[in-house]
Amino acid sequence: MDILALLLDGFSIAVLPLNLALIVGGCFAGTLIGALPGLGPVNGVAILIPLTFAFGLDATSSMILLSAVYYGCMYGGRISAILLNIPGDEPAIMTTLDGYPMARKGHAADALAISGVASFIGATLATIGLTLFAPLLAKAAIYFGPADYFALYVMAFTTIGGITGTDPRKTLLAAMLGLMLGTVGLDPSTGVARYTFGSFHLYDGFDPIVALVGLFAISEILFFLEQKAHGGGLVPPGSVFPRFSRIKEGLGASLRGSLIGFIAGILPGAGASLGAVMSYSFEKRISDRGSFGKGDPRGVAAPEAGNNAASGGALIPMLTLGVPGSGTTAVMLAMLISLNIQPGPLLFERSPDLVWGLVAALYLANFVLLILNLPLIGLFTRVLGLPAWGLMPLVVAISYLGVYAITHAAFDLLVMVGFGVLGFVLRKLEFSLVPVVLGLLLGMDMENNLRRALSISGGDFTILVQSPIAIGIYAVTAGFLVLSLWLSKRSPPQMA
């Protein structure tokens, strides 16, 4: 087969000593960058670009390094989400929902192992999908218009009410708050400033990563200070060795999550966060018997498989069309251009070495990450055994450093603290923070696509239900709603 021959050629490039070293180094650095709150794949990749120039790496080696970092970040983001309830980057938000409760029960090692294996499954399946179907899938993704993306976001928001274990009304309120915060800034379709009060700093709205670090990391610290005053301790470290029986529980969820995440990744307007949300809520719909949100292994496996599969999927529009599916792939595209490689529909024909070398490197990176991550579980778990007087200031320092590194603006440190206080108040009122971030993160894209659809139709709302794709998505959404109503009638009443 053609593809196999090309892939073998790719492997012969990927196993060159330099490239192998880049894979291992990139995976390691990526895991750390991903685990640090605030620093995510976009910054990780952007920070490393000057390094690729300094080393004089060629385009293929540079792409291999950056992709290894990208994949590594997706693995790493979950670590702090599970251990500290602080997601390392946006797509890891969903992992806090069941990962942190597992850690609180003393099962941190299990959660890390499950999410590591799920990440591996998600990323590997996505890479296989990329190998076999990339050009085909890219062609299909083109037919997704603004109205269809809007339908996809409607679907995501429909499922948000059921995402957390708390009162669905509170969840919806929190999502609404996130949507409101998402309207701050320049309106992308007309350039009109909204709720900026004349401050240029607010023109771009609230950066979701700044909000995320504030809501989770800073509020966690405020919470800790309060607990400290009233006595009480950190999460118990529990066993440092994962149990294989627990890993097996997440396998089905990983496979389902991978498929959903992969689809979200291929669509340039969707991405890893949406992939994680959909994977989690789908899994919860079909397997929850009241254990989700309280430390269910499937609730860890699904979103992790989802976000890793999505980041693999996002490489498809990037390589086949030159369209970035995420901030990270946008940076990678810019670097390709600066290395005299023109991204676009002809990349597969003109630079087969680069494309297939990269694909082969991704397979290797996945194995490296799995091998790297499993033995590190013991190490990471021991973080929980640290005295709080050491760990908490470190979290504060990393949060400040991370946010400043992204935005280079002291103003955003204030925004972060503001979100920290907001997060503290919301948690006191027993609101889940996840829907707030999702509202902020997904709301902007949802609005943009709605506005685009309406610009196309000249303000006629019927465009939203004219495309077969959109109608299909709404039908699936309705099906989900009916299914969940039926399931909730059948199973014993859940805790509200």
Binding site: P146, Y203, V383, L401, A409
Partner: protein, 321 residues
Amino acid sequence: MIGKLNHWKAAGLAAAMLFAVPAMAAECIAPADPGGGWDFTCREVGRILAEEGLVEGNVQVTNMPGGVGAVAYANVAGKRADDAALLVATSTVGITQIAQGKYPAGSDQMRWIAMLGADVGVIAVAKDSPYQSLDDLLSALKEDPASVVTSGSSGAGGWDHIRLLMLAEAAGIEDLSQIRWVQFDGGSPAVTQMMGGQVGLVSTDLGEIKGFVESGDIRILAVLSDEPVSAFPDLPTAKSQGYDITGYNWRGFYTGGEVSDEDYAAWVEKLKTLYDSEAWQETAKSSGLEPIWRGGEEFSAYVAEQEKQMAEISREIGIIQ
């Protein structure tokens, strides 16, 4: 204990990555997130400045996104007006914002160093589009302004939109506000949406969508330059089709308004050397930029003139009062 070490190591590594920049180096502010055109300008020019030995060490690229460049503009005007080590990347887009009063100050607040090249605006349709020439398209729009959904990478009133409306105006279309405009997050997303049949036309820079021109997925009805572009000499200009409109998106740099004459002259000199280098000419061409030089006083005058022109156009089409 081991866990603690690990965490420290992580923090240390991150810190080393963030601050691994020699102290004496020049700095280039890209007033946008990594990955965009301004970021690319900083990184490319920074790389060549270092390679050609025009600065000590590497050029540190700082991303300062916000307000389409307004945050960086305010920052430089307020805090770093006399910082001689500083370059700030900008382009026609920045001047559009200034002209429409969306920056905290006019162009006279900064010292404009030079432009090194320009991306050329194009009007593109899908390969299966019924429109074969600019005339076809514009007469269809003239008959019914809503007949073609137009799109590009800027919002309404942005440069992609304005240069399309300039063409429409030249074609005698009166009610410009009837033309439907859809904003996408870049030229290539707009093109793929056009290939998927969502919109009928894309007005954007050639550089970003070059790959689609080469693959034959789209048809360029007009390039908005004086002369045909060197990379694609066969593409017709708007001028050759009787519409006297150009729409360059130049790439260049400014620095703070209080930088001394000597330091300013030194930057102009360095960028001129860079412009003449083989490396820049290569880089510019491979990324779809036409190398065009304007430096020093000539460039400052050009920027002031463009600001005035843009404000007039924006007023004519009702974007500002």
